[in-house]
């Protein structure tokens, strides 16, 4: 048997795995990582926080995946697929981190929680109306998440710090990708400028929620709004766009996505995301 390709042993019978094709079968993304909770960190607060950040990435990754085969060019299709994949990878790590504390599994958290148990921000729930809205939302999401994850690089939980440190490199590319498109559309034709300005105005009411303190302050949980504003204002100025001046979307009796109170859109995402796992609850892949 040749040693040249990793595909050769797929059909070996001496293995104890039951893969049937390349890419099937998943392992714990935190395999071999020391997941001890450091002294002074509240495990429940840490688990909740990892769920929040993991759910943001999981739901948004799914929304980005829904764009596949609808992008204007093949290169953009590839770019967005890679961005969605990065976010899915971040979601897996964060949900796995939460699972180590909650004594469950990454898959159970992703596929068997209800809407009210999801902790993502409402910004990631909506289907984009058009390409302009896609890049506008992606710019805001990645600028915010990058600022937040830069802070988490020094989190008191070394696992969360490691996940964030890795993700910062990925989010840098996501933010640049979205920012460059916003500039191209904003500083483009009258039609493209109008579309991207309309898109920014449409997503802006959900920006405030990103900066609400949400859990144990010991975890350094909130991004610095001024820092994110500097980045966004630079993009808007280069793109000749106006910073939106619209009222934030209100909380529902004080509750937002972080408290499990979502928009109607989340139900549609979860119905699709969870359908296979719920139809075949004993399936392994």
């Amino acid at each position: 048997m040749s040693d040249d390709t990793p595909y050769d042993h797929l059909s070996d019978e001496d293995g104890d795995d039951h893969r049937w094709a390349f890419g099937t079968g998943f392992t714990d993304p935190l395999q071999g990582v020391d997941t001890t909770i450091p002294a002074g960190v509240d495990p429940q607060a840490l688990a909740t926080y990892c769920l929040m950040l993991g759910d943001d990435a999981l739901v948004y990754s799914h929304r980005l995946q829904q764009w596949m085969t609808h992008m204007p060019e093949l290169e953009e299709e590839t770019a967005l697929a890679n961005i969605a994949l990065d976010l899915l990878g971040q979601a897996r790590l964060l949900l796995a981190r939460a699972a180590t504390i909650l004594d469950t599994t990454e898959d159970r958290l992703a596929f068997f929680r209800t809407e009210r148990e999801f902790r993502n921000v409402r910004l990631v729930e909506h289907r984009d109306a058009d390409f302009a809205e896609l890049v506008a939302r992606l710019l805001i999401f990645s600028a915010w998440r990058l600022a937040l994850f830069e802070r988490l690089g020094t989190s008191r939980d070394p696992v969360l710090a490691a996940i964030a440190g890795k993700a910062v490199k990925e989010l840098t590319y996501h933010r640049d990708y979205a920012a460059q498109w916003v500039v191209r559309l904003g500083d483009g034709t009258e039609v493209s400028r109008t579309k991207v300005q309309t898109a920014l105005n449409a997503v802006w009411p959900l920006v405030d929620e990103l900066f609400r303190p949400c859990t144990d302050p010991a975890l350094d949980a909130v991004a610095d709004r001024a820092e994110v504003d500097v980045v966004l204002d630079t993009v808007f100025a280069t793109a000749t766009l106006e910073r939106p001046d619209v009222a934030p979307r209100a909380a529902v009796a004080g509750s937002t996505g972080r408290d499990g109170v979502h928009t109607e859109a989340l139900g549609y995402v979860l119905a699709e995301l969870q359908s296979i796992a719920r139809s075949y609850p004993d399936a392994e892949w």
């Binding site: 040693d3 040249d4 390709t5 990793p6 595909y7 042993h9 070996d12 001496d14 293995g15 893969r19 390349f22 890419g23 079968g25 998943f26 392992t27 993304p29 935190l30 395999q31 071999g32 990582v33 290169e75 953009e76 590839t78 770019a79 697929a81 890679n82 961005i83 994949l85 990065d86 976010l87 899915l88 990878g89 971040q90 897996r92 790590l93 600022a147 830069e150 070394p158 696992v159 710090a161 490691a162 996940i163 440190g165 890795k166 993700a167 910062v168 490199k169 990925e170 840098t172 590319y173 933010r175 640049d176 990708y177 920012a179 460059q180 500039v183 820092e227 980045v231 630079t234 993009v235």
Partner: protein, 163 residues
């Protein structure tokens, strides 16, 4: 058995996406520890969502078992995060030979991550060496690569991103 043997076996495992390169070439293999019949290989993922990690882990286990190690463990090490600077010189030569431009030095920074609104530095064409190239996409067939086109020989090519 000695550690060098186990290391040599692990180091030669090819990457599933870039089979011209080994785990050692890519700087994914962080270490191999042997304790009697037990061997622990430590790897670092290139990207959070890299779908090749599972294959790499299986392949490592398989090859080390075949070499006589009964208890093989693969451990992920998340920090320090992988950087393209860890790709070895032989790895860079193999990339070029495969028509993939090797990465420049990874950006270093102090303070906040800077926003980039223009294309990054020009990448030399791996086919003809020309610097007259343009980036056509920031992402390619895998998360770790970008797409370019050479204005001199007109070939499209991929580059490994400097991260």
């Amino acid at each position: 058995m000695v550690t060098t043997t186990a290391y040599a076996i692990a180091a030669q495992v090819p990457d599933p996406e870039l089979p011209q390169l080994t785990l050692e070439d890519l700087g994914i293999l962080r270490g191999v520890d042997v304790d009697g019949d037990t061997v622990t290989a430590t790897i670092t993922p290139t990207y959070s969502g890299c779908p090749a990690m599972r294959e790499i882990s299986e392949d490592l286990t398989h090859r080390l078992r075949r070499a006589g190690y009964r208890d093989v463990r693969v451990r992920q090490q998340l920090t320090p995060a992988w950087t393209s600077d860890w790709i070895t010189e032989p790895g860079r030569a193999k990339l070029t030979a495969a028509g993939i431009a090797p990465p420049h030095a990874a950006p270093t920074r102090s303070g906040r991550v800077p926003l980039t609104l223009t294309s990054r530095a020009r990448i030399a064409c791996p086919y003809c060496g020309s610097q007259q190239t343009t980036q056509t996409a920031q992402f390619s067939g895998t998360a770790c690569k970008a797409l370019h086109r050479c204005s001199a020989c007109h070939e499209p090519f991929e580059s490994v991103k400097a991260i």
